[in-house]
């Protein structure tokens, strides 16, 4: 199968996922919840309710509503945000780039730290270093990121005064949120690198390489590292997608960071249905595109994979 055909197939799958998830959210918001009840105060009159129902197009049959919603979604038109009274698209694109960059920083940090540490732990398997690194990476996975953020803030902003506690604008504002977010992907990555590296070091080709006199550093970084890249990339991609899909919200809230995560949190708080639908739509697309990118990168690292 050609690369192009494979990408087309994956894009088709993406569309399926996006449509499916959009329908699900639409049904949830329109069947389980009632937007009118949420938007109007309890003491609203019958007339007020009917008027709003009409304005929102909720008096039409459900399938008709869904058709209209999907038709508009395809044109990237999600209407006005109830809460901000601006087009949903505009609201999202105000915040999305900042968070995408923040998470990118966190991912980069986790890669830079976790890959060497994971390799070291695997190479010195069973040693004190290995155990310490395992505890460290497990802690990164287990401690809640928002708590890590609060502790970092307590130490570096409140006590030492090195970095601002909240807000945005300079690179200093990015440091603590990025570190707080980075802990979990770092732990995941270090664990998978360690695990995979141990597998690689037990592989026969390592014996072949050593038997011909290859230096240990060369062995680790030129031979084995490339073979663990596929699983590492999967992990990096997954974590990035999850953070962008709302996981970064709690850390952004801690640092008052005006990003996409906090937008999601505010959306829920304000029960802004159209904005939520738009967010779900975009995150679904981005998650699928990240997965696709990961798959394409596979082929670059593993010559056995051809699409």
């Amino acid at each position: 199968m050609g690369m192009g055909k494979y990408i087309l197939q994956r894009l088709a799958f993406t569309i399926l996922v996006v449509i499916g998830i959009s329908i699900l959210v639409f049904v949830l918001t329109h069947v389980v919840g009632n937007p009118v009840d949420i938007m109007l105060p309890l003491q609203a009159t019958m007339e007020q309710r009917e008027l709003l129902t009409q304005q929102l197009g909720l008096d039409k049959p459900m399938l008709e509503q869904l058709r209209i919603f999907l038709g508009e979604a395809v044109r990237l038109d999600f209407g006005l945000s109830w809460w901000q009274r601006r087009p949903c698209m505009e609201v999202i694109f105000d915040d999305l780039p900042l968070t995408a960059f923040l998470i990118f920083l966190a991912s980069a940090l986790s890669v830079v730290v976790a890959i060497p540490l994971g390799i070291l732990a695997a190479y010195r398997r069973g040693s004190i270093i290995d155990r310490l690194l395992t505890v460290f990476s497990l802690s990164g996975i287990c401690l809640p990121p928002f708590w890590i953020g609060l502790m970092l803030m307590l130490v570096f902003s409140v006590k030492l005064g090195w970095l601002p506690t909240s807000g945005t604008g300079t690179w200093k504002h990015l440091v603590l949120p990025a570190v707080a977010i980075a802990f979990r992907p770092m732990g995941h990555l270090a664990q998978i690198v360690r695990f995979e590296m141990i597998q690689q070091l037990n592989a026969l080709y390592v014996i072949t390489a050593r038997a011909k006199g290859v230096d240990e550093i060369v062995l680790l970084f030129r031979h084995a590292l490339k073979n663990i890249m596929t699983s590492s990339i999967t992990m990096i991609g997954n974590d990035y997608a999850k953070q962008l899909g709302g996981l970064s919200a709690s850390v952004e809230v801690v640092f008052g960071f005006p990003g996409f995560g906090r937008l999601i949190s505010d959306t829920i708080e304000n029960m802004d249905f159209p904005l939520l639908q738009a967010e779900v739509f975009f995150v679904a697309i981005i998650v699928c595109l990240i997965n696709l990118l990961v798959d394409i990168l596979y082929a670059a690292f593993d010559p056995r994979i051809r699409y």
């Binding site: 072949t208 050593r210 073979n227």
Partner: protein, 354 residues
């Protein structure tokens, strides 16, 4: 009975590791292994994969290391290169000298100077013994660069030349292939090319044909024989196939349950094996030729976690005596000239009858 007693008289009393000393005195010894023991420490207990193995190889010679799977042949070879990975494997004792220089005294960092130039190894599993994410050309070139002191374009030309040496058609194109694009036989040729590119003093071939189908096996063997003639290397040939032994080897060392039980030249082994186990496996190929069944040694292969006291082979030995159950035999120098050692209380005579 008389013969047996004679053999018994030359029996050494020195114990497990007291052999090999005399052998070393012979000339041109390129590699000597003395009292090598390697164990794997599992929770179920210690597995003595190699237990007091001693032998030596002369320059230009091909020594076959023979035994069932699990008898410790591969671990012996890996131990010689110090490639046993801890945990769980550990070299417990022993000395290995290559060209007179002791290897086990070297710091681990210096081992890379012994590996390759000193000893190179062909592994038994060509399918997984090559790095899947590097071109085969690159992997040969790496061996050339490390061990022949040439780099870049020259090393690449050399690697392509090596592909030709191991009879790979259109080497310039194949240089860029990845392992998964090659057949098993081709991969084994690549493994041979890598090992030869190291220009080793000793080439260790660990069952290079065992996972290949019969016609390919024959091709690889023919290639190895040809190469041996052409470049005159010393070979330690590990195998469980006595047919290959007959074709390739000058001398044979037979392993059982981690121990070396008999070592002699190949003609002696085929004519008058002295250890009951050797006789058993020789008998099995004879029986094969006569269309009989392969396994004519009674009993199960040894469980390395629960080895018997005394001679390790005694539960399967038809000549087993009281002493065999209690006391582990030392090595006996059957001819008194160090050419034929056997580890048995009652070595068999020429006719093979007790």
């Amino acid at each position: 009975m008389r013969e047996t007693r004679e053999a018994g008289e030359v029996r050494e009393t020195g114990g497990t590791g007291a052999t090999g000393e005399k052998e070393d005195k012979r000339q041109d010894v390129i590699l000597s292994v003395k009292d090598l023991s390697t164990s794997f420490f599992l929770r179920e207990g210690e597995v003595k994969a190699v237990d007091g193995v001693s032998f030596s190889i002369r320059k230009g010679e091909c020594l076959a290391l023979v035994g069932e799977s699990g008898s410790g042949k591969t671990v012996t070879a890996l131990s010689m290169l110090r490639l046993v990975v801890w945990p769980p494997g550990k070299i417990k004792s022993g000395q290995v000298a290559l060209d007179g220089a002791s290897i086990f005294d070297l710091p681990m960092k210096k081992m890379k100077s012994v590996r390759g130039k000193g000893m190179a190894m062909i592994l038994q599993e060509p399918m997984s013994s090559l790095n899947p994410s590097q071109t085969i050309g690159r992997q040969i070139q790496e061996a050339v660069e490390i061990n022949q002191g040439i780099t870049g374009e020259a090393a690449k030309r050399k690697a392509i030349e090596m592909l030709g040496v191991v009879r790979i058609p259109s080497p310039e194109k194949r240089y860029y292939n990845y392992p998964h694009e090659l057949s098993g036989g081709m991969k084994q040729r690549i493994m041979i090319a890598i090992a030869l590119s190291c220009r080793p003093q000793l080439l260790i071939a660990d069952e290079p044909t065992c996972s290949l189908d019969v016609t390919i096996q024959a091709q690889i063997l023919r290639l190895m024989q040809q190469l041996r003639k052409d470049i005159d290397t010393t070979i330690l040939f590990i195998t469980s196939d006595l047919g290959i032994v007959a074709e390739m080897a000058d001398r044979v060392a037979i392993m059982y349950a981690g121990q070396l039980i008999e070592i002699c030249d190949v003609f002696t082994l085929f004519e008058r094996p002295s250890h009951p186990y050797s006789k058993g496996i020789m008998g099995s190929i004879m029986a094969m030729k006569d269309g009989g069944r392969l396994n004519i040694i009674a009993g199960d292969p040894p469980d390395l976690m629960a080895l018997p006291a005394g001679c390790k082979f005694h539960p399967r030995c038809e000549h087993c005596q009281e002493i065999c159950r209690k006391e582990e035999p030392g090595y006996s120098d059957l001819l008194g000239d160090g050419s034929h050692w056997v580890r048995c209380h009652f070595p068999l005579n020429k006719a093979g009858a007790l």
